[in-house]
């Protein structure tokens, strides 16, 4: 048992915090509040310094497959509310292709991702609460596979070279790459101003080599994708809630009312302490899920537990932070508001706490 970070992990954390502090200052973040929220310069900077290769095999231009390394990236990204979208590309596409595809072209895509090329995923569907059963269809027609359906919440799709989609076919679920040029994209406006898209697939034709897994392993690959996505989103949630908790601590240690700093009121300090407890729990369940995913491709319950804690922590800590800050918390000239919006995004995308509780309950009670 070892809860410590290896020295290279400490270095990753330190350098990322340094980079993000510098490049995601409140003044710089402001530039993206009403614009397309993706800082291309920052993205290229991360790529050229090797940070997009975290969690990717050395042979594929990465720095090793340890998912905890990748978790650090997502935690730091959340802590600084960096104007980037990383999950679809670095998690969904890179990790799934790396683990499941034997195709050399796909392996070189992973390598190109580590070097800054953008791909994305389109997995979720409007009002479909069961992403393991896509309503999007794939029909095998000779050499071709024809895809039809609608996806949404696909990140920075307009910048992506290709999109990884899930679809149901008569051979089971498949995951395949489609060219961005072959789909219809509509940008969605969302709560945290993340550049998310609706992806419409109308008779999109692909070939078998676009499928990113061996035959019959589609569901396994999709489950893996959903699990690792949950865990990495929970790392963003960890960064976001950690930042909000530290804002609570510093604000209530300075703000004076009734002639004393409000942090000396037990009602205030205890609410802050409850945020700290929630945060500790979230950190630990994330660490367990990501390290277990290092050795197994299926850790569904660990991933669910992680996302359940993330959903609850995002909700509770966000509202505690807003409340304890009073008016400053909602003032767009202060920093907290961005985190509150990001928290709602982390809480809800790829399974809310209630939805995941239901799923976890199903798993637990089914295992005799």
């Amino acid at each position: 048992m070892d809860f410590s970070e290896l020295s290279h992990q400490q270095e990753i954390r330190e350098s990322l915090n340094k980079i993000f502090s510098e490049k995601c200052s409140p003044e710089k973040l402001k530039n993206f509040d009403n614009e397309f929220k993706h800082d291309e310069k920052l993205y290229d900077f991360l790529a050229s310094n090797g940070y997009l290769g975290l969690g990717i095999n050395e042979k594929l231009s990465g720095s090793g497959e340890d998912l905890y390394d990748l978790g650090i990236l997502f935690e730091c990204f959340g802590f600084h509310a960096a104007p980037l979208c990383l999950t679809g590309c670095l998690v969904d596409v890179a990790q799934t292709l790396q683990k499941f595809s034997k195709n050399e072209n796909h392996q070189s895509i992973v390598s190109s991702i580590a070097q800054g090329e953008i791909y994305t995923s389109a997995i979720l569907e409007p009002l479909n609460h069961d992403p393991e059963n896509p309503t999007t269809t794939a029909v095998f027609d000779g050499e071709k596979i024809i895809i039809n359906g609608t996806k949404y919440l696909s990140e920075i799709s307009s910048l992506a070279k290709g999109i990884l989609i899930s679809a149901s076919s008569n051979k089971g679920v498949i995951l395949a790459l489609v060219k961005t040029d072959n789909v219809k994209l509509t940008q969605l406006t969302s709560t945290a101003n993340s550049p998310l898209f609706k992806v419409e697939l109308k008779n999109v034709s692909i070939v078998e080599s676009d499928v990113v897994h061996e035959e019959g392993r589609g569901l396994e690959a999709l489950k893996y994708l959903l699990q690792i996505n949950m865990v990495m989103r929970s790392y963003i949630a960890l960064g976001v809630t950690n930042k909000m908790t530290s804002l609570i601590a510093s604000y209530t240690s300075e703000r004076e009312q009734f002639g004393r700093v409000i942090g000396t009121f037990q009602a205030v300090s205890h609410r802050a302490a409850d945020c700290f407890i929630e945060l500790e729990c979230l950190r630990l369940v994330n660490q367990q899920a990501s390290t277990n995913l290092n050795t197994s491709l299926d850790c569904e319950n660990d991933a669910l537990v992680s996302k359940i804690w993330a959903g609850n922590a995002c909700h509770k800590i966000s509202y505690s932070a807003q409340h304890l800050h009073g008016g400053a918390g909602v003032d767009r000239d202060y920093v907290l508001w961005r985190y509150c919006l990001l928290a709602k995004e982390c809480e809800l995308i790829n399974g809310s706490a209630s939805q995941n509780i239901e799923r976890l309950g199903l798993n637990i009670t089914a295992n005799q």
């Binding site: 000396t264 009121f265 300090s269 802050a272 700290f276 407890i277 729990c281 804690w309 009670t365």
Partner: protein, 393 residues
């Protein structure tokens, strides 16, 4: 980062599991089901303690030079976990807290006479800290020990002295200096319960756990009964409480109960083709408990890992105490909801084993949120040590 038990630790767990299966004879189980012996103290309990002493299962955390096994904190945690799962009222406070301190800081007499016998399973201690007017503010305690020639005269009253009704000694905190700040004038003594100046009255509690008020009237103890330096008792108390807190929130018992209720629910038919676990709210309750237990397990594991490297993280120790004690209450509630009104029955013939336990556990759970350092103080500590906020007042 690796968050799993290693193979040796897993082996220890299995070994302990088997050992306790053998130790818990039907006679011992029957005795422990008697409210009078819930906490131990009966003849079968005493026999089991002697056996454990002989088999070397006492003194796990003790240093080797004192006859212990010097197990690592994680191995000790596994021991506590496994024992607690069995329901055997192992006297951890005597063997793992008081014992090692006496072995290290006691007089020659205490080392030979007391420490050795604790290792053999022959002695039980009660803990004499709280007083009628000193609970959370423990350092204000007023029981006094006045220096005489060759010894001390002890006078005072203690509250919540659990196990005192069958203990051989009390590990007693008394004031030895009245001029200095509260916590600087306290010393620790070994006080025999067979002294004529010692008396007690029972306090019967909500959870059927018996505890006691204990009275100390002109009890004279020789110098050899002082443990550690005079007026240096506070550090012994606080280091003991740190250990105690972690043992209190061990995830073993609640997980054991969760597994038992789950198994029962999976096999309980509520109609021709439906089991209890088919109900969606039942699934949700189990999932809530599961995700809560995972966090508790990880908090405890991390604490033991921190202890292994001799670091101390005050905020995280308090997180364990607050989270664990409050989670237990929630978990018992969710489990009782699953069993429904059956869980308030104490002697339903079919579900006796499980429900009697659940029915009793929920009644004992509340003591943990205030016992061992009340949660308000723990939250104060978290805000100060974890978030660097100013001291609240």
């Amino acid at each position: 980062m690796l968050i799993q038990l290693n193979s040796q630790q897993a082996k220890l767990k299995d070994e302990l599991h088997e050992y306790f299966k053998g130790l818990l004879t039907p006679e011992l189980k029957a005795e422990l089901n008697n409210p009078e012996h819930f906490e131990g103290g009966g003849p079968e309990f005493k026999k089991a303690m002697l056996t454990m002493g002989k088999d070397g299962w006492i003194g796990l955390s003790w240093k080797k030079e004192f006859g212990g096994k010097e197990l690592s904190p994680i191995e000790q945690y596994i021991f506590v976990e496994t024992v607690m799962r069995t329901g055997f009222p192992f006297p951890f406070l005597t063997t793992e807290s008081v014992g090692p301190m006496i072995a290290e800081y006691g007089s020659d007499w205490a080392k030979e006479e007391i420490a050795t016998k604790i290792l053999q399973g022959k002695l039980i201690f009660g803990i004499g800290y709280s007083e009628p007017n000193s609970g959370t503010d423990l350092a204000s305690l007023q029981t006094k020990a006045i220096k005489e020639k060759d010894g001390y005269i002890i006078n005072g009253q203690k509250m919540w002295t659990s196990l005192a009704n069958f203990s051989d000694y009390i590990w007693l905190a008394a004031r030895t200096d009245f001029e200095v700040k509260n916590h600087k004038g306290i010393s620790m003594f070994i006080v025999p319960t067979n002294d004529p100046g010692f008396s007690l009255t029972a306090i019967n509690t909500l959870g059927d756990v018996r505890t006691n008020a204990t009275f100390y009237e002109n009890i004279k103890v020789p110098d050899s009964h002082l443990v550690g330096e005079i007026n240096q008792g506070w550090s012994l108390i606080t280091s003991q409480l740190n250990l105690e807190r972690l043992a209190l929130v061990n995830h073993g018992p609640v997980e054991e109960l969760y597994r038992n209720v789950l198994e029962l629910a999976q096999n309980t038919k509520i109609s021709n083709d439906q089991f209890l676990t088919d109900l969606s709210w039942v699934k949700q309750n189990f999932a809530q408990i599961h995700s809560g237990i995972e966090a508790l397990k990880l908090i405890c594991w991390k604490q033991t890992w921190i202890m292994e490297s001799d670091q101390l993280n005050m905020a995280e120790a308090s997180v364990a105490k607050v989270y664990g004690s409050e989670f237990f209450i929630e978990a018992y509630r969710l489990l009782m909801e699953i069993m429904g009104e059956l869980s308030i029955l104490k002697n339903d013939s079919e579900l006796k084993i499980l429900n009697a336990r659940l029915e009793r556990m929920y009644r004992t759970a509340s003591i943990l949120t205030f016992g061992g350092g009340t949660n308000e103080v723990q939250r104060d500590i978290i805000a100060m040590a974890g978030l660097f906020m100013p001291r609240s007042r």
